[in-house]
Subunit: 695 residues, 2 copies
């Protein structure tokens, strides 16, 4: 359940509002600079020290392609999920060498292959810059002026910090406008593959078992961070605990939940329910069907589209669960009640009412605008009309040329001085591009463009140039030279003149679409996002005033600390135990007659007799997680790794907007099961010894 | 590529307009009472005699679940496609006995199992009743009055004919209002299974190979029609030709093409492109994804949903092809040119212009109304909000009680005296109903209902009764007793009083929705269909006046005759031969490493050495066919079976609105390949001897 943002630029993700804090549950995705000390103390008698928190924080890793991980050795060994790594595994594979199928184990450090475009971040510090950001926005400024001023100060703060520290410096919007924090990251861009099992066991049970429990998945991969061509020497890393979590034990999860909408206004939730989620689900379904049809034509097609297809399936299941929650009248009624309580509390105080009372209506007004432009923005700016990395590359080249001519403060966020290196890391990736897959994707999305914008739309007509979506897609993909990284680099180096001179059809297409796309982006930022930011700042202030400051912000793909217990649950009257055992994998395969995706890899059938089949394999806990937390270390009080988050159960799918402790569970691989598999199935002695686990 | 009508009631299918006839191609789906004699004569030197036509007509069979077939022995042996039969095969199967997997071969006539609800029709006569129908509609009547009058006279004509002849008597609307013909059918409702191969070879290549060529599919099944508990003795049946079609030979196809839109006005095509097809494709995709997710959970789930999933995949591929055509500017421009030519010709004659000149604008006006009500009509009347047979059963019971209290002339078409027996045949089917599958389908469609109609819609709220779509679906499916056929029969016998007294939740739901649904149906019939019928009657008259009467009407799932040549084509510069050979099946399997859906059944691998691998297996022809033609016999000049239609190639998908002879091809199983397989793989001596093929 990796977090795969549809919106590529993380800075654009809508963030949300904090939930009233309750010490009666394990709820919360907490900031490391505002941890739930009281709750942990009162519920579990545990009080984290500043050193403990710093150690966990600096051992945690963000995977910028949408997941989490942790440092687990002094030599930069990084531990994450296989399904977070699969993007890299796919890019390192070819028709002759399929690491998703065979798994991978480096014979030694010299044999660790580098991922083409992976960036890892480790959070080094947090600084509150709310005052400075808000002071830069003139009081009473309109949406356009306010948005420009806010963007300028944020770009400036980031650049100053980057120049001063050399660290990636992101100003993060929390409480969707209530706070602005400057996050400084140590960045690793040379990341190499150390060990991955076969996908058949990493994702055993496939799509049918995804978001389900009980489970039997070895969803792990080890990478190594390099610096200057050598394994990174790190001060903070987590100690491996080969016994793993025990039932009832207090555990912590440190990771990067991608997005929640827990304290969205009801109007915002309705927008998700009525507009955003139905559209994105229809698009995900059509792409899933397209990718599967492509895959089924040949084995090599299946290999090429494998990670893409997984991504659609994973998103579809996650969003279906979210939408089901939004369509459940009982859940929406609860949300309405909570909102009315807060509004009532505000109304009772003349001061609060005067300052914050109009916030809800302002959100609703912004959504009325959003409804008008959402579809067009989705097509042209996000830009879902062009579902191919080659268009994204073309657009980045076109925009980079234009934006980098402007002063840093005026640039679109993703082309600011601070953001540019990460963008270029992706732009100049040597990952393979498959013409046939890209053409199938683009043809489908051009068809969707005709459906959504209408065949008579002037821009649609220009995009198609008199051809059918299918024909035009093939022409564009076959015609573009952007598959060659040296061509991209040359265009980037040539700046605006090179872009204007280019006759590459994809560059021309990106230029054709850009004026309309930029207009839509400006409208979205100025008329929807900035007004909402201001309204949610009021809502946050109202909450702080009424509920106090022990409130956590909605998830924003930044580092958070969750806590909970390893604990089973009851489903349909039946007790679901807290853990599964390795022997269960064999039974589960047999129940499905060993047919895909329930076919265990040969390494597992061959080594069955060597295993202690009673070893815990996967386990559930009450920790509050969501997509993006995939790969997060699960640690005990001593800060040792006792497992790794890789999924949530089916009841966790509503965690996007409401935490429930009754049946919603995070699903982890147990470190005892991992140790047993590394030792007896994979004979991965080097990894084990680096983890400090001898014979 | 069986024709699976989304609209259950065939009488409701929108029909269309005739294409200008051309003797320069093999175009046309011809009426048996207006065959293309000149074209056949001039192109192929063949002139069919009335006796030849009558023999072919009366040997042709319509499968009322959406396909075609033929009588091939004096004892009522019926020959069709496996994928037309799969509905019955699915219904006859259980967890212990899976005929789709194993195939079926009756040991003798006593071992032929009866299909639960299959109805076959053989066309006995055609009578033109246009004058009588139009005379009953008062000149200048408004949509509502005209629609009622037309429905009354059609119901009356059918009832009179039924009473007089005892034959099923359908008034068929041709040229979408240009002509009304009374079709009288001999009806078989006791249909039993004789022989079916394994689905693995019948649908070898599965969804990836569907609508593709070259192909290697044994897509055949034999049934037997029974009368009074005995094999039907038939006068007309087709002789089997074990040599089969030869390259270049003139062949004929007699079958039931479901729907074409060849001479829709451009405005109607735009409606298909912009509204109808995108919606239905999104719905098909979501159901395909839902059915596949259901299937993948267990082997038994996969068996239960198998035919359902195939149906979605098949529709998706067909409609994607259609939509791709509609989105192709070059095709739409051609359509526009054709329309302008006709309009110009009408405009040149004051008389034609006065009588017919407003037809195009009238169609456009009807579509403006249609656009307003299409979504609601789709949800509540078609009724796609409730994707479960149990709702359809409930609604039929509710409406039958109400409609049968009215005089025949006033009833909704499907509850008229003539239509009722067929409706009851389906209503009282003993086919299995699986709670889990029905609940999954209903939950998905209720979710779609919320998305389309909005969570705040009063009817939506009443339907959900405060529950989530998922919860409500489970409650309805588990609560209804309509799974028991005796309950249905009791409710049907009890009439309106029994319906009103029933506390069955599905009956209550159907009653809740019915007033709104009926209102939408009336609006669609009175404000869209009747005005279009009148407008298309004008267009038809204009065409007859300008192009002459040698014009074929669009397909309406009634019997048509097509002709053409067994002939290959050129694709990307490569010659695609007219036929494949049986040995090719083994090569094709090997190329895909024998993985599903490219895994040959054991019977084929075991008997490979016995086969003449050079025997023709599948072949292509220029005959003009479309969905619904599946199972149509391919006959030679002597009227002998030389093959059976089962698919069209990828270029045939635009045949819905334009015939092209260049690359569009019908795909058939060759009778030599069938004979070889029956003899050497299945040792089906009884079938072979009944076909007159000895050792």
């Amino acid at each position: 359940m990796k977090f795969r943002p549809f919106v590529r630029n993380l800075a654009l993700l809508a963030a949300c509002l904090a939930a009233p804090f309750s010490t009666r549950s394990d709820e919360g995705m907490w900031l490391f600079n505002n941890p739930p000390v009281e709750a942990m103390k009162s519920r579990y008698g545990f009080e984290p020290s500043p050193a403990w928190l710093e150690h966990i924080q600096k051992s945690s890793v963000r995977f910028n392609n949408g997941g989490s991980g942790s440092l687990v050795s002094a030599d930069g060994l990084v531990f994450t999920n296989h399904h977070v790594a699969s993007d890299c595994l796919q890019k390192l594979s070819s028709a002759q060498r399929d690491y998703l199928k065979t798994g991978f184990s480096a014979g030694g450090r010299s044999e660790e292959p580098a991922c083409p475009d992976l960036e890892l971040n480790v959070l080094m510090s947090i600084e509150d810059v709310t005052g400075r950001v808000n002071a830069a926005v003139p009081a009473g400024a309109g949406g356009a002026e306010a948005e420009r001023a806010r963007r300028a100060i944020i770009n400036t703060i980031e650049k100053e910090s980057l120049d001063k520290t050399g660290l990636r410096s992101d100003v993060v919007t929390l409480y969707d406008g209530g706070r602005y924090h400057l996050y400084r990251y140590k960045k690793y861009t040379d990341v190499r593959l150390v060990f991955a099992p076969e996908k058949a066991i990493a994702f055993f049970g496939g799509d049918p078992d995804n978001f389900e429990y009980p489970r039997y998945d070895l969803d792990i991969t080890f990478f190594r961070a390099y610096e200057n061509g050598r394994p990174a020497k790190v001060e903070h890393f987590l100690k491996w605990n080969p016994q793993g979590a025990r039932e009832g034990e207090l555990i912590f999860v440190s990771g990067h939940p991608g997005r929640t909408d827990r304290l969205d206004t009801v109007n915002d939730l309705e927008f998700l329910r009525d507009v955003a989620n139905p559209l994105s689900l229809n698009v995900i379904r059509r792409r899933e069907v397209m990718a599967r049809a492509f895959s089924e034509r040949s084995m090599e097609n299946a290999r090429r589209a494998e990670d893409e297809l997984f991504s659609y399936q994973n998103s579809r299941k996650a969003r279906l669960g979210m939408l089901a929650g939004l369509q459940d009248p009982s859940i929406m009624n609860r949300k309405r009640t909570e909102e009315n309580q807060l509004r009532e509390a505000v109304r009772k105080s003349a001061e609060l009412q005067g300052s914050y009372g109009d916030a809800w209506d302002r959100v609703a007004a912004a959504n009325r605008v959003q409804k008008e432009i959402y579809g067009a923005h989705y097509l042209w700016e996000r830009p879902q009309a062009f579902n191919t990395q080659l268009f994204e590359i073309a657009r980045d080249l076109v925009r980079m040329a234009e934006e980098t001519r402007k002063p840093n403060a005026e640039r679109l966020r993703e082309y600011s001085e601070n953001a540019l290196p990460s963008l270029q890391q992706a732009l100049f990736s040597e990952a393979p591009v498959y013409d046939d897959l890209e053409a199938a994707k683009l043809a489908d999305s051009l068809g969707m463009m005709v459906e959504m914008a209408g065949a008579g739309d002037p821009l649609v007509k220009q995009v198609l140039a008199g051809k059918s979506p299918q024909e035009r897609a093939v022409e564009l993909i076959q015609g573009t030279r952007l598959k060659d990284v040296s061509v991209r680099k040359k265009l980037a180096a040539g700046g605006q003149a090179a872009i204007e001179a280019s006759d590459d059809p994809m560059i021309r297409l990106a230029r054709l679409v850009d004026p309309a796309a930029r207009k839509l982006r400006a409208a979205m930022e100025q008329k929807v996002e900035e007004p909402k930011r201001q309204a949610y700042a009021k809502l946050a202030a109202a909450r702080f005033a009424i509920y106090g400051t022990k409130v956590y912000p909605d998830a924003t793909f930044t580092l958070r600390l969750s806590f909970g217990q390893a604990k089973g649950y009851v489903e349909g009257g039946r007790r679901i135990p807290w853990t599964t055992r390795m022997g269960g994998a064999y039974q589960h395969a047999a129940e499905h007659q060993n047919r895909e995706p329930f076919q265990l890899p040969e390494s597992w059938t061959r080594n069955k007799d060597r295993l202690d089949l009673n070893t815990p394999f996967n386990f559930v806990s009450t920790a509050d997680i969501i997509g993006g937390n995939s790969g997060s270390p699960v640690v005990n009080r001593a800060g040792e790794v006792v497992g790794i988050i890789f999924d949530g159960n089916i009841y966790s799918l509503v965690l996007d907007f409401a935490y429930t402790e009754e049946r919603a569970r995070a699903v982890s691989v147990h470190s005892a099961g991992i140790t047993e598999a590394l030792r007896k199935i994979y004979d991965a002695r080097q990894v084990l010894s680096e983890l400090g686990v001898g014979k």
